[in-house]
């Protein structure tokens, strides 16, 4: 448990350093804003679109596939740790688990969920 005190101290230190850097930058820097400076970057043209459109579905699909595989990994990590004591039974269990998941993976591939176009 004591080890986590080190983590907490690191958290305070890292957060403090990063916060101080942002604070110093915004207080010590000079302030001379003009409308041109504050306009979002647009290669010298007038900014013509506010970027608030809806996103393409592919980002969302990527995120949810990531979650599903992430959950799978959460099962795999404890399995890997105790694998030596589980032996062949552990291998079979994980084999079945992975085969079922691979069915989903192949389904995703066949339906173009892994394509980016």
């Amino acid at each position: 448990m004591n080890e986590y005190i080190g983590i907490a101290v690191s958290f305070l230190l890292a957060g403090g350093v990063a916060g101080a850097m942002v604070f110093l930058g915004s207080t010590l820097g000079k302030k001379n804003p003009t409308p041109e400076k504050l306009a979002p970057f647009e290669c010298g043209k007038e900014p013509f679109a506010i970027p608030m459109g809806r996103l393409a579905i592919k980002f969302y699909l990527t995120a949810i596939l990531f979650i599903l595989f992430d959950v799978e990994l959460v099962f795999l990590y404890p399995w890997a740790v105790v694998y030596r004591s589980l032996g062949f039974l552990g291998l079979t269990e994980m084999g079945i688990f992975l085969v079922v998941l691979m069915v989903g993976y192949i389904y995703a591939w066949r339906n173009g969920a892994l394509d980016w176009n």
Binding site: A18, G25, A80, M94
Partner: protein
């Protein structure tokens, strides 16, 4: 010497070292690119340009801070902090060397030795994605937004391969403790996980490729793909907040280089010399880490950039199936007594 003081010394040493490495990387980035392109690079501030990072740091503080019109003030300032803190936190569990003696206390050269340090590193390191998404979203600029979104899609895609290639090491060592993983690789050079044939080299390769994608480095630097997206998610950032994004990137690269060393190259172990003094172990660790940091720069000036759909195809259609198969083969070989 009281125990809290020993801890404080370790914290200061390790974080001081990290900031120094990050600063050195900001110089090395320019020096190495200059060297590869037959140029000189920064050479005015200090001998051989060595004081350039200090000059940059001071300059960044006094630069004008711009918050673009229509940007969300709070999130715009929060994003660089969110991108710099996670990699700095992840360094806390890296086992740089074995037991050292500070003021009469025998202790280990890492801020915290957790039982689950592997999971801690990946869980905390994965949070760096928020800085990128929020930085891109809060800037009110389409380049930033697209850069942030692309970077986050890329980071989640390659995190899977990263986690799966680490899993091979976990199966081989049977522990999530980074220090035990290092101790497991002591002895001859063949004890290193990269030489655990046939799965070790594959896992190593997958891991290194995934670290490049996770840190948004070339050839996968779509977060700041200049020809298309200007500066990507940090297009609108200036002054110290811009510097913080870079601090975060260099810290993340350092963490990844450390992890490659720990997982596959035996950490601070010197081959055939298991009881080496800690200073030599530390030197050994840092030189392995330094090699991987150099690799980041070397690759940047050697390979052309991918296209985004190629990147996603590589992650999902090539690396993911290979990584899953690799884990299963590792398990099968282990139960057949291959690694005995």
């Amino acid at each position: 010497m009281p125990l809290p003081l020993v801890w404080l010394i370790k914290v200061v040493l390790i974080y001081g070292g990290l900031i120094t490495v990050a600063a050195a990387m900001s110089l090395a980035e320019r020096k190495v690119s200059a060297w590869i392109q037959w140029r000189v690079g920064p050479n005015r501030v200090g001998p051989w340009g060595l004081l350039q990072p200090v000059a940059d740091g001071v300059k960044f503080i006094f630069k004008e801070e711009l918050v673009p019109e229509g940007a969300n003030q709070t999130l715009f300032r929060l994003a660089p902090i969110l991108s710099a803190v996670p990699p700095m936190l992840a360094v806390a569990v890296i086992p740089f060397a074995g037991e050292v003696s500070i003021g009469g206390h025998v202790t280990t050269l890492s801020i915290a030795d957790l039982d689950i340090s592997t999971l801690y590193v990946v869980a905390i390191g994965g949070l760096g994605i928020y800085g990128v998404i929020l930085g891109g979203w809060s800037s009110n600029s389409k380049y930033s937004l697209l850069g942030g979104l692309r970077a986050s899609a890329q980071m989640v895609s390659y995190e899977l391969s990263l986690l799966l290639s680490i899993l091979v090491v976990v199966v081989l060592s049977g522990t999530l403790d980074l220090r035990q993983i290092v101790n497991d690789q002591a002895g001859p050079i063949f004890a290193w996980n990269i030489f655990a044939l046939p799965v070790g080299p594959i896992a190593f390769l997958l891991f290194v490729i995934a670290t490049f994608a996770e840190t948004n480095r070339h050839p996968f630097d779509f977060a700041e793909c200049e020809p298309e997206l200007v500066g990507g998610f940090h297009t609108e950032y200036s002054s110290m907040k811009f510097a913080l994004f870079f601090l975060g990137e260099y810290c993340a690269m350092t963490v990844m280089a450390c992890l490659t060393t720990v997982f596959f190259l035996g950490g601070g172990n010197i081959p055939w010399w298991p009881d080496a003094p800690w200073l030599l172990e530390l030197t050994c660790f840092l030189s392995k880490m330094g090699f991987f940091l150099f690799l980041f720069l070397w690759v940047r000036w050697t390979l052309p950039r991918f296209r985004f759909d190629q990147l996603m195809a590589l992650g999902w259609k090539v690396m993911l199936p290979i990584a899953i198969a690799n884990v299963f083969v590792t398990g099968a070989l282990l139960s057949l007594g291959w690694f005995a």
